[in-house]
């Protein structure tokens, strides 16, 4: 597989008044052209910080300590701010959870979309306006001529999110990074947006990196999965494997707490214990204090990722010597 995106050993620390938060710790992941890849894990495990670090949009408190972010043969961490701006929103599109943080409430939708497009495309004037119209039409906004004249507050949450997607896909990106794109929306709007992303992959051959809590979305729309826990990737697998044969005890716990639509659960399963502290992470395996399968060495030995690329887990149960 020639990767479109290949993140190698990415490490991001946040310098805060309570200490250094190890938000992203030696994360490696790859996305092939046209692939849909999920990044999952509990709140605070470092998913957003991984995506933001890759795009060089991490907050000021963040420092990238190590790693490479190879995208189409270039290390994004080595680009100038100017070169990086050209990549973002161009070959690499982004959609975030809260569209209002990216839309200016005082500027009409049409002008915002047009401005974003003109950063990356040569078209100006009427030609640019036509591109804008086409972009809004592609995300199936009804009556786009009219919507171009609206301000963001005149749109529903689902429409705003589609405007953001319209901006993200207008320049036909080869990779789209979506951080919880549908969390704030109801299921019918969510289905519309996911359908749109699926269409984009089919039409333009774009790859998607989807960050989400929702294992249902992963099952329906993704090819491969990376599971993060406490700043690290603890499992990577195909979507079929991760649901049928989860390797890491954390992945198993996550799947067990997932509710189903087709039957009533006889109780709500939780993952015992507290989420880890990323300033002083536990020694050994970071999941060991909550792991039902932990044994003595888990408290002291840091597990590696065991298995083959694309099918491995960071768990001593899978270490070759344990087999």
């Amino acid at each position: 597989m020639t990767a479109l995106l290949s993140v190698e050993g990415l490490t991001t620390h946040l310098h805060t008044d309570v200490g250094v938060v190890r938000a992203v710790d030696d994360v490696s992941l790859a996305v092939a052209p046209g692939e849909a890849v999920a990044l999952v894990g509990e709140s605070g495990c470092g998913k957003s910080m991984t995506a933001l670090s890759m795009m060089r949009l991490a907050p000021p408190a963040a420092r990238i300590e190590a790693g490479r972010v190879m995208f189409k043969g270039r290390d994004l961490l080595g680009l100038s701010a100017r070169q990086m701006r050209r990549v973002r929103g161009g070959e690499m599109g982004m959609v975030f959870q809260d569209p209002m943080t990216f839309l200016n409430p005082l500027i009409r939708i049409g002008d915002q979309v047009e401005e974003a497009i003109s950063l990356h495309m040569p078209e100006r004037g009427r030609a640019a306006a036509l591109l804008t119209l086409e972009a809004l039409r592609r995300v199936r906004i009804a009556d786009p001529e009219q919507v171009m004249g609206y301000y963001p507050h005149q749109l529903s949450g689902g429409m705003r999110q589609r405007v953001l997607i319209a901006i993200a896909i207008a320049c036909r990106p080869s990779l789209l990074i979506c951080d919880e794109p549908t969390t704030a929306l109801d299921v019918t709007i969510q289905a519309q947006i996911m359908d749109l992303l699926r269409g984009l992959r089919a039409e333009l051959g774009s790859a998607i990196l989807l960050i989400t809590h929702d294992l249902g979305l992963v099952a329906e729309y993704c090819d491969r999965v990376y599971v993060m826990y406490a700043g690290r990737v603890v499992e990577e697998a195909s979507v079929f494997d991760v649901f049928a044969r989860p390797r890491h005890p954390y992945t198993r716990a996550l799947l067990r707490s997932t509710l189903r639509l087709d039957r009533r659960a006889d109780g709500f399963r939780t993952i015992a214990g507290q989420p880890p502290n990323l300033v002083h992470p536990p020694p050994g395996c970071r999941f060991h204090p909550r792991c039902p399968e932990a044994f003595a060495r888990c408290r002291t030995d840091e597990p590696d990722l065991y298995g083959s690329v694309g099918a491995r887990a960071r768990c001593l149960l899978h270490a070759p010597e344990a087999a």
Binding site: V187, D214, F243, L261
Partner: protein, 342 residues
């Protein structure tokens, strides 16, 4: 049996400039005639598209918004007709938990101060007992030992812990009904499971009746006894949860169920999905006839002209669809689809 809480023809409007429904004014009738009944100890889920009026119903039920029409009865009595003391008793009996645990706690108040206030106002315990009662409440919601948490401020709690404090505040006054507006949406799967378990225990152990607003149908399936589905200010279907999930009798309910992702990659890839098209219409300018007809794959001529009246359905529910009787043909219930493919 008289329902504990009953709503008939509830309407609630918002002013958007010209005044509510004044001629020429631009009022929004966010809730346009809702009937609901809640029995003691029952969990009723309220679902529906974003903007359909769920939060507005909730706020009217707890007395935070005044209805422009309709009746709310508590234990059989019209709350508008209550005297001052009875009104206070109603406000105490029906408590609300809000979606965002970050916004609904005062950042300058400790857990003790947050809990002591309603205890004092409603004279639940003598002054000397306030501290012990507050600690007991924290124990009840799983923050134990409660005494150890009394002097902490909101920023010293995690999101899940803050939501527990909000629930503790709501149950402090020993209510009979909790109206919870998306209480778990902001929380992660594992913490979500803890809070859902707490709601389940409260209804089982204290006999609390609950109205639970959520977008997550998997939560509805596992938590609720009955479910009410709202679309554009009205209830379009209501019934026992298992019956509604087995065979939805309104096309909008069917669309909601069909749009919910299934956490099983093999099954998910074998299901044919046709996402519901279009956007939610504005409550300021609702479509004529059945409000859902412009988006409904099964709409006929009558749907554009006549508003369907809610009709009782087999299985104990009701549906406001002209073609509810044909539901077995169009509803594509999940259970059945899953049986077919597996």
């Amino acid at each position: 049996m008289t329902p504990l809480l009953q709503v008939e023809g509830l309407e609630v409007g918002y002013e958007t400039g010209g005044g509510v429904f004044r001629r020429g004014g631009a009022g929004v009738r966010a809730v346009a005639g809702v009937d609901l009944a809640l029995n003691a100890g029952e969990v009723l889920a309220l679902v529906g598209e974003s903007g359909c009026g769920k939060t507005t119903v909730a706020r009217a039920l707890v007395g935070l918004l005044r209805p422009s029409a309709g009746r709310i009865r508590f234990a059989g009595r019209d709350v508008e007709a209550l005297g001052r003391d009875d009104r206070l008793a109603w406000r105490r009996a029906v408590q609300m938990v809000f979606q965002d645990p970050f916004d609904s706690l005062n950042p300058r108040k400790t857990a003790l101060a947050t809990l002591a206030q309603p205890l004092r106002i409603h004279r639940i315990v003598p002054r000397a007992e306030l501290r012990r009662e507050a600690a007991r409440l924290l124990d009840r919601v799983g923050l134990s030992p409660g005494a150890a948490y009394l002097n902490r401020y909101p920023h010293q709690f995690s999101g899940g812990q803050r939501q527990r404090i909000c629930i503790a505040r709501a149950i402090a006054v020993r209510p009979q009904v909790i109206v919870a507006d998306e209480p778990v949406s902001a929380l992660d799967v594992s913490i979500r499971a803890q809070i859902l378990t707490l709601f389940q225990e409260l209804s089982r152990d204290l006999g609390l009746a609950t109205i639970f607003i959520t977008h997550d149908l998997t939560v509805v399936r596992s938590l609720s006894d009955r479910v009410a589905v709202m679309y554009l200010g009205r209830i379009v279907e209501e019934g026992p949860t298992d019956a509604v999930f087995a065979l939805p009798r309104h096309p909008y309910t069917a669309a909601l169920l069909a749009a919910s992702p299934i956490p099983d990659p093999v099954l998910a890839r074998r299901l044919l999905r046709r996402p519901l098209g279009g956007d939610v219409p504005s409550p300021a300018d609702p479509p004529g006839g059945c409000a859902f007809h412009p988006r409904c794959a099964h709409a006929a001529a009558i749907c554009g002209t006549q508003r369907p009246v809610p009709q009782p359905q087999p299985g104990g529910g009701m549906s406001a669809c002209h073609f509810a009787a044909d539901a077995p043909q169009w509803a594509r219930p999940h259970d059945r689809i899953l049986e077919e493919v597996s």
